[in-house]
């Protein structure tokens, strides 16, 4: 699938997101963000957003936690993939620039061999795998900010 096609899918909004409330996808096709939460009294930020702050048990407000970061660690999974994900597929922890949160996420399946610890990445959203009912769905993933040699993938 091409990047343009993925963006089309994301923009079309016809597919459900793998979990509601985790993504902020601008209607104009702009850069999507992970949607988490912030506790207005403690200032603690969360991803995903819990129903209550773990510190004060007060309500947590919805808040974007970031769209860009650097890879903290990653792996490429080379056994049978769950959830209809591509084989192989990559996952990692990303240190988000905006919120300083370290979040777990999928990495771009078209760039599995390009990931290294420390490289800058940005969020993308695309049709990727299936949901709990076996239907295609949108998932967030991080992709290298600086495109590498495509032949490497």
């Amino acid at each position: 699938m091409t990047r343009e096609k993925e963006r089309e899918n994301a923009g079309a909004g016809t597919l459900p997101i793998v979990m509601p409330g985790i993504l902020d996808i601008p209607a104009d096709g702009g850069q999507p963000s992970l949607l988490g939460g912030v506790c207005p009294s403690c200032g603690v930020r969360y991803f995903p957003r819990p129903s209550r702050c773990r510190g004060c048990l007060g309500p947590v407000e919805e808040s974007p936690v970031g769209a860009k970061g650097v890879v903290y660690s990653f792996t490429v999974i080379r056994i049978r993939a769950p959830l209809g994900l591509p084989e192989p597929y990559a996952i990692g922890y990303v240190d988000l620039e905006e919120s300083a949160l370290r979040v777990f996420c999928l990495l771009d399946p078209q760039a599995v061999e390009m990931f290294r610890i420390g490289i800058p990445v940005r969020l993308a959203v695309g049709a990727l795998g299936r949901d709990a009912r076996g239907a295609p769905c949108l998932r967030p993933y991080f992709t290298p900010s600086v495109p590498g040699p495509r032949g490497a993938a």
Partner: protein, 381 residues
């Protein structure tokens, strides 16, 4: 602590037991432990049964009551415990606490697991968790720890793989082990990649099996020649702080410190250790959390033979999860079985000479880059 003693242990060989049921395996282990303790079913005041996956994979609930009744135990309180890979050791901690509180004099703890069923797939931390929905599978969580550890400390793939060579070598000496064949470094490194940089032989197998332990009060143990004293039995849970470092579990360090403090001993006092080597990288990280070496030094320990049988501090002489196998409900109790056997001097070809103190360390589950459950059981002769 120190109120409880191990009076008897029993287990069945781990492996693929396609024809055996959970209750069959558990009750055989229970019988062997009672026989080893020389205690009849009528003396048991509490039964705790552990299985991590029975409700999900087998559709069986309250299996403990079935297991205990097979060995003539009924009417008393029976608990069924699930705590991922620490299910068995968590059951052990509960029984120790009941004895320490003076509620019972004798408790029987049984752990069993039947993982080798069609379509089992990979275990995860819950279908509703975001991580699971984004493709997190257990080996991948450990692979990311390995990648970060290699990045931080310059460890090599061969250093990681040497842990599997050691533990598979130990398993050859253990009649209860799932794998009885030694492997070479080349074989470990050239086995198929599961998740970079971990190859298949660096991952524990999914096993069927059962193990059981009879615990009693110190008063009861006075009449027993082969009883082993429990110096500490610790259970704690992850901190789930963000950001969490993947090259060390904060929970591992915190739990180990708590365990040593409760036992009144330190790493220098240990003769033998069983730890949660679900993957090679895990054993290396546990060396460091247990204080067997400093941060970043763990990768060299297995290579230098320090943690091999006959080395400075033998770790996973049973073969560990990688060699003995890993039926999660039984694993924590199989670790206790090994330490008790070592401290009694009954381990045959894999005996650590003059072992006087040892510990069983286990961790289970994954959440937010942390472990969900940690247990440490310190025992001494």
């Amino acid at each position: 602590m120190g109120a409880a003693c191990v009076a008897g242990v029993g287990m069945i060989p781990f492996g693929k037991h396609v024809e055996r049921t959970l209750v069959d395996m558990g009750s055989v282990a229970a019988y062997l432990a009672l026989e080893d303790a020389g205690i009849g079913p009528g003396r048991v005041g509490l039964g705790v049964f552990a299985s991590a996956a029975a409700p999900r994979l087998l559709g069986e609930m309250t299996s403990g009551q079935n297991v205990f009744w097979e060995v003539g135990i009924h009417r008393i309180p029976i608990l069924n415990v699930e705590n991922a890979c620490t299910s068995g050791s968590t059951a052990f901690v509960l029984a120790c606490n009941a004895i320490a509180a003076g509620q019972v004099d004798v408790a029987l703890v049984v752990g069993a697991e039947k993982l080798c069923v069609p379509g089992v797939g990979l275990l995860n931390s819950g279908e509703t968790e975001l991580d699971t929905r984004l493709g997190m599978v257990t080996p991948a969580g450990f692979a990311m720890r390995a990648a970060r550890y290699i990045h931080n400390y310059g460890a090599s793939a061969a250093q990681l793989a040497s842990v599997a060579v050691k533990n598979r070598g130990h398993a050859v000496l253990n009649p209860y082990a799932h794998f009885r064949k030694a492997v070479t470094l080349e074989e470990v490194l050239s086995s198929p990649v599961v998740a970079d940089p971990l190859t298949r032989m660096q991952c524990c197998p999914m096993s069927d099996g059962a193990a059981a332990v009879v615990l009693c009060s110190r008063e009861e143990a006075r009449r027993m020649r082969r009883a082993v004293c429990v110096k500490a039995a610790i259970l704690c849970t992850g901190s789930y702080e963000n950001p969490a470092d993947l090259d060390r579990w904060e929970t591992d360090y915190r739990g180990c410190a708590q365990g040593y403090e409760a036992a009144g001993i330190g790493p220098e006092d240990l003769d033998v250790v069983e730890c949660h080597d679900a993957f090679t990288i895990a054993e290396i990280l546990h060396y460091e959390a247990l204080g067997l070496c400093g941060p970043g030094e763990g990768a060299n320990l297995a290579v230098r033979g320090e943690t091999r049988l006959g080395g400075r501090i033998p770790v996973n002489v049973s073969g560990g999860l990688i060699g003995r196998g890993h039926p999660p409900g039984a694993t924590g109790l199989a670790q206790v079985h090994e330490i008790v056997t070592q401290l009694r001097g009954e381990a045959g070809g894999r005996q650590v000479r003059n072992a006087k103190a040892g510990l069983a360390h286990c961790m289970g589950g994954d959440k937010d880059g942390d472990t969900k459950s940690f247990t440490m059981i310190v025992m001494a002769r």
